[in-house]
């Protein structure tokens, strides 16, 4: 096995640095608190895995939140029955969501295109409704599955460990609160990104791209495409399970709402917004959507008044009245508009925009000495 190519290595190192330094560079954006950063990591893992199925293989699943939810439930059950340690919980969650994905994928992949999407949506909604009804003994219904003092925790009991007070997940006895939790999740995002990078650059990844490009040719070229698509489905299901389990580690309460179709739709939006089929795109999409959800929704009229404070009163009121529709509860409106603009003008997502800008720079470099357009003076605000 040869080492990674130089470009791959640079991308990986750059990505790792950006992730690990997030508590610093997110500060000016007001998002540098561990709770939100953990969510950035978790949903980026979810989107990176989803992209293996959607971006590489071309199969649009509308039910991936089911695997996310299954991962959460499995992790919480591991906390309850085995140990408060995070590692067995993650392993258990990945295995369970993988098996679950194998079953759902086996049936759904008998169809492609819109029928595949509908089948995955149907399975996910079925899981969501079952979690609320007949599966209540496993999911604890609407209350959600949570940890209690009386949980068995056989592994912990075997080594004579007992927790005092409200049980919380740990890593080798260390607490995973605050930034420790963030770095724990960041480590898994970097690992998830590395694996996705390897898969994309492998012969297997090339076959997935071939399936997306022309499945007929793949068949007449001697490939049995079914196991390829199923493997991609299971891998992305396991990524979703890992993400769901990490969410349970940071907040050990699993509820059925994370399996709802809106959650499945969200990961589709993340991937398309960032750039389906690219490695970094889904991560950026995930971060952007979680940022909007948490930061834009928290902006209220008084924040806006302060922001427009430099304007005369009447004008400022006007600006606040208009912009307040796009923040706070209206953050969906902003997100929707951004999404529409990107899909219309940059069908390849934000990454296509990045490529276009890079292309402009490369083209304009030789002509930097040529007389350019007159530089516009920045106009002071009226």
């Amino acid at each position: 096995m040869r080492a990674m190519s130089r470009n791959d290595l640079l991308l990986f190192l750059g990505f790792s640095a950006a992730v690990l330094l997030m508590p610093i560079w997110m500060q000016p954006f007001g998002a540098a608190y561990p709770d939100l950063l953990q969510r950035f990591m978790i949903f980026a893992i979810f989107a990176v895995g989803f992209n293996i199925l959607f971006g590489l293989t071309g199969y649009l699943s509308f039910g991936h939140a089911a695997f996310f939810g299954v991962g959460s439930y499995a992790a919480v059950w591991s906390f309850k029955l085995l140990s408060l340690d995070a590692i067995p919980a993650l392993v258990f969650a990945i295995v369970v969501s993988g098996v679950f994905a194998l079953l759902i994928g086996y049936v759904s992949l008998r169809r492609s295109g819109i029928y595949f999407s509908i089948l995955t949506l149907a399975f996910a909604q079925m899981s969501y409704n079952l979690a609320y009804s007949v599966l209540t003994p496993i999911t604890n219904g609407e209350t959600g599955l949570q940890l209690t003092l009386s949980d068995a925790r056989h592994l912990d009991a075997a080594i004579g460990q007992s927790s005092v007070g409200q049980p919380v997940p740990t890593l080798l006895g260390q607490s995973l609160g605050g930034f420790a939790g963030f770095y724990f999740c960041a480590g898994f995002l970097i690992l998830a990104f590395f694996l996705a990078q390897r898969i994309t650059g492998s012969p297997f990844g090339m076959m997935l791209k071939g399936i997306k490009s022309n499945q007929t040719r793949m068949n007449y070229t001697g490939f049995n495409t079914k196991p390829y698509t199923l493997a991609a489905f299971v891998i992305s299901g396991m990524y979703a399970g890992l993400a769901g389990a990490l969410l349970a580690v940071t907040d050990p309460l699993a509820g059925a709402e994370r399996m709802q179709w809106t959650a499945s739709g969200e990961v589709v939006l993340m991937t398309i917004l960032g750039g389906a089929g690219t490695l970094v795109g889904p991560v950026i999409g995930a971060w952007l959507i979680k940022y909007f959800e948490n930061i834009f929704s928290a902006i209220n009229d008084s924040v806006l008044h302060r922001f427009f404070g430099f304007l005369p009163d009447g004008v400022a009121d006007g600006f606040v009245a208009v912009t307040s529709k796009f923040v706070g509860e209206g953050w969906f409106l902003t997100l929707g508009l951004v999404f529409v603009l990107i899909v219309v003008f940059l069908p390849g997502g934000i990454m296509e925009g990045v490529r276009r800008i890079a292309g402009l720079f490369n083209r304009s470099r030789p002509s930097t000495t040529a007389p350019g357009k007159p530089v516009r003076q920045p106009q002071p605000a009226e």
Binding site: M1, M4, G201, S202, G205, S213, N214, Y220, T221, A231
Partner: protein, 255 residues
């Protein structure tokens, strides 16, 4: 029973689409190393016959035997793994991928079989496959275009690349569905030269073609199909002199 040097035997094949008898009583033997052309006016059933051979359409009765193995009922990928490659009338290529990758994928199918879960291997480390693909592209005169996206190639280049995708698998039988359809005279001649080069290597081919120039410059044996039946069979000279063939063609679109 097939004689040892018969590679492909289409045995008594019928194909009906509802009331339409698209193929009737087709019995065809393709010998090793030969180029066997199937010609006929539009609607004679040529493409249907090819689709029955490759497993895309099941025959209503009869069977297709390749090298002792019955093809009928097998899936397209299994038929390819037995050693049959196909060039389509409209090139079936990976339009989003580079020309080089288009040719590397079939080489990987040949080496790794129908499925292999090699997730952690790097495609960049497949130097042997890459060298093989580059060599094949040189062979068809497309090496300088290897980094281009396949979808942006001209039609003639797409066809040549598709041919390279088939040839890299060293198939025992190559099926060509109108390999010069929609090509300029120049592209047609380049393709004929290329096919002659392949023929010199002793590859068995079944070729469906409208263009008589192409057929008579390449074929060792010709079967003439009209209204779903083989009306004549033999060497190019035999077929050329056959009155039934002349009648079928004069009655059809081709004067």
């Amino acid at each position: 029973m097939t004689t040892p040097n018969v590679v492909l035997h289409v045995a008594d094949v019928h194909k009906r689409f509802g009331g339409l008898h698209a193929l009737a009583d087709i019995d065809l033997q393709v010998e090793e190393g030969q180029t066997h052309a199937i010609i006929g006016p539009n609607g004679a059933g040529k493409s249907t016959l090819l689709n029955v051979i490759i497993g895309k359409l099941p025959p209503s009765s009869g069977q297709v035997v390749f090298d002792g193995a019955v093809l009928t009922g097998r899936k397209p990928y299994q038929i390819n793994q037995l050693g049959i490659a196909r060039v389509f009338q409209t090139p079936e290529i990976f339009a989003d991928l580079s020309v080089l990758h288009n040719v590397m994928i079939p080489a990987l199918a040949k080496r790794d079989g129908a499925f292999k879960l090699n997730l952690m291997r790097s495609l960049d480390s497949e130097t042997a496959i890459r060298a093989e693909a580059e060599h094949m592209l040189e062979d068809v005169g497309m090496h300088s275009r290897r980094e281009m996206t396949a979808g942006s190639l001209s039609r003639g280049d797409k066809r040549r690349m598709e041919l390279a995708m088939c040839l890299i698998q060293h198939p025992r039988l190559l099926l060509l569905d109108e390999p010069t359809a929609g090509m300029s005279r120049h592209d047609t001649n380049t393709t004929i030269e290329l096919l002659k080069k392949i023929k010199a290597r002793g590859m068995t081919k079944v070729i469906i073609e409208h263009d008589m120039h192409v057929v008579f410059s390449l074929a060792d044996k010709i079967s003439v199909l009209a209204q779903g039946r083989i009306i004549a069979d033999g060497t190019p000279d035999q077929v050329r002199g056959n009155p039934k063939v002349q009648e079928a063609y004069l009655g059809g679109a081709h004067a």
